[in-house]
Assembly symmetry: C2
């Protein structure tokens, strides 16, 4: 592998340029911005590897599918996505989100960590491998979708229409990062998700707030409805919400115990004194990885600009994500939510489902898991950290678990990468190292 590592080292400026090129291109699925341009770019990258590229249309954004048949026994699939989260709130970015900028050894831009950086690390790894050895030791598939950040609503269209494109011996999942102690996280699962909007409506027009004495206020309706969903002890109050959650196994508890979680550093970085419910240690990590959530991601009603406007709003909206675990089913949770609102007298509040996804878990003793972990132990100075599941969500169930395919995630981010938030960034060294490690995994598999 040394000659490949050397090749990567010698061409790191070029690979960094490739990454900066794609980070310049917005691709915000939530706002349908820049999708076509990004698809074209991704196709160009794959073509540099002489991979057979197909642009597979869906009812939403197309999936870029690539297949490199080296005539080998074994096939490894890379699942990635070319879409990114909205850059809002734009005013908190220190440099423009789609003008990649290098500061302090880090590359700042939307998508550097999630997920363009990790995608490119894999493309560059194959490129380097081909330059040095001409031929790969395995067959490769790329499934690169454009709607991961909005819940992959059309990925199952793809899986249903193209079962042949799914067959593989294992899937390397899209993303990952190094934990605060510098250990590569190797992740074996994702939380699921139900993402909804709640809409409350009042009069058909905003009114002078004097009328609030007698006319219903949708902002109050929404506040009261929301306040029934979760209490200040963070207990989600929807009947049946926790029913399908399984107890942790001993092995899961041990893995969780072994995670180095830099509480004090994180709290300091976030400007906080403590975590929710004063959680620490095992309980904190267990909550993060194994417990579901109910999160207000956004809410809006009435006048929100500067100063005092005395207005009675006509509409109030909230965006809520439920992170799901174990066997929780987003469709069932949606029904439970509707029942819950009705039970509390909020039949008037409309629920709009924006995305749904089941949680996924690859078995700890799977061969792919063993291979990735042993490669990481060989490559990195520090022992990798096996994570039973990430705290985040992805369509791992849709693409892998549903078909019995093992999936393992790792990537090039770090604990302070600010995924989904302003000033998203990666260390340039992590990117180059990530290219090398991806090449090693291909080699070992």
């Amino acid at each position: 592998m040394e000659d490949i590592y050397q090749y990567i080292e010698d061409h790191k400026e070029m690979y960094l340029d490739w990454l900066m090129e794609i980070c310049k291109q917005p691709s915000v699925a939530a706002q349908n911005r820049g999708i076509e341009e990004t698809v074209n770019l991704v196709e160009q990258y794959l073509q540099r590897l002489s991979i057979a590229v197909e642009n597979i249309p869906t009812s939403g954004n197309p999936i870029v599918y690539g297949e490199l048949d080296s005539g080998k026994d074994r096939t490894l699939t890379f699942y990635n996505h070319y879409d990114v989260q909205p850059e809002d709130p734009i005013e908190l970015w220190e440099s423009p989100p789609f003008s990649p900028e290098i500061r302090d050894g880090k590359l700042f831009a939307r998508g550097t960590a999630d997920n363009k950086g990790t995608l490119l690390s894999r493309i560059c790894a194959i490129h380097a491998y081909q330059q040095v050895y001409k031929e790969l030791p395995i067959n490769i598939k790329f499934i690169i979708e454009g709607e991961e950040e909005i819940g992959s609503p059309h990925l199952s269209e793809f899986t249903e229409k193209h079962p042949d494109k799914l067959t593989t011996d294992g899937c390397i999942w899209e993303n990952g990062f190094k934990s605060t102690d510098g250990r590569l996280q190797v992740t074996l699962g994702c939380k699921g998700m139900l993402y909804v909007e709640l809409h409350a409506k009042g009069a058909n027009v905003d009114l002078h707030s004097a009328k609030a004495a007698i006319v219903t206020n949708p902002a109050w309706r929404l506040v009261w409805a929301l306040s029934t969903l979760k209490n200040e002890q963070e207990e989600i109050l929807i009947d049946g919400f926790y029913d399908r959650i399984q107890e942790m196994t001993m092995e899961e508890k041990e893995l969780t115990e072994s995670i180095d979680y830099k509480e004090r550093e994180e709290l300091e970085q976030l400007g906080l004194k403590s975590y929710l419910n004063n959680l620490t240690g095992f309980n904190l990590k267990e909550k993060l990885i194994f417990q579901p959530t109910c999160t207000i991601c956004g809410m809006e009603s009435g006048y929100t600009e500067q100063g005092a406007k005395t207005v009675l709003p006509s509409v109030a909206k909230a965006k809520i994500d439920f992170r799901l675990v174990s066997e929780q089913d987003p469709d069932e949770i949606l029904q439970l939510l509707r029942k819950h609102l009705n039970k509390h007298g909020f039949e008037d509040i409309e629920i709009v489902r924006l995305k749904g996804q089941r949680a996924a878990l690859t078995k700890l003793n799977d061969a792919l898991v063993q291979k990735v972990v042993s490669s990481a132990e060989k490559f990195f100075e520090k022992k990798p950290q096996v994570m039973r599941s990430q705290a985040g969500t992805g369509p791992m169930y849709t693409l892998c678990q549903k078909f019995g395919i093992p999936a393992v995630g790792f990537g090039i981010g770090h604990a302070g990468s600010h995924n989904h938030a302003p000033n998203e960034n990666i260390y340039i060294d992590d990117f180059i190292e990530g290219i090398k490690f991806a090449a090693l995994v291909i080699h070992e598999f």
Copy 2:
């Protein structure tokens, strides 16, 4: 008076042009937009009446003060304001808010009803009176402020520094409208107000919402805090909130009973099935005029654009107005609110006071009241409707009650004028009629 009415009739196009001219000029106090330009315009109007104009600076927007000393015994003051509410939400306007447009006999623009139309009706009345009779029968004072829509925060600076400018025999209050049955509303009071923002803070940066499992969410904190302020039965739950409210007198009950309130029509217009708590009749009117409120005028947190963004917000804000009645004191209510939040464990939620104003009531048997009512009975086909108080708020206490000055309000709006909301409008006929009536009040006083 007939010759004055005729003059007004002959020059109604000119007076309408005057009104459209000032409505073209934005003057949004909440956003500090167009103040200086509007002050200049108002001064020009007063100069057309040969009124001695003073631009009186305050720590906020200047007050335009005008005095026409006709050497008479009696003085009448007109209190008006040149500022307007923000035009937001702009997308619901059928024509641009600062491009006055005539449709169906109505003039649409921000400020037509509140308060530029009524201000102009008084200026035009004096103009017509002077053209026909040369001299006015009374002395006139104008106090035209530029911060009424943000709670008149600097009006007391003016009252403290210029007690001589306040002395008067009575004050005609800024605004009013015709009720749904076409009767002129003559209003003898205003509700008070406390307007605050509540700020909840979480981490110092927006985070990926996976972290919501362990990191505090200010949107939840705000929702929980708000839900303790008022229950679904519309009871405000702050200890001591109702303590300073006096019982209605028999006379007040009778006046309230006599109000024609077109419930069915209003509900239909607003697209609603019923009022809050299914109120109707006397109870509805009593709630609107005599009861305090606690209204969410706006709230915002996290991601509010299109689609699903999974973000844990770092900030959540709500704007709340409390309409106050009787002897409720905004400063005391602010203290009670702070105590209430602390008592419920929300010491972390910051309160920002944006405006405060006490309620005001002129005595029913005051001479000015009698004069305005008898003039209205003479002038209008329909009997005027005496309103003990408007449901809205103004600085009547600061300018009048505090100094024992009686104040009576009437104006040129109608029940569908949409004050503070999109598509604010007046009937052009009401404007012309309002000029005539203002001339009559001057004549009779």
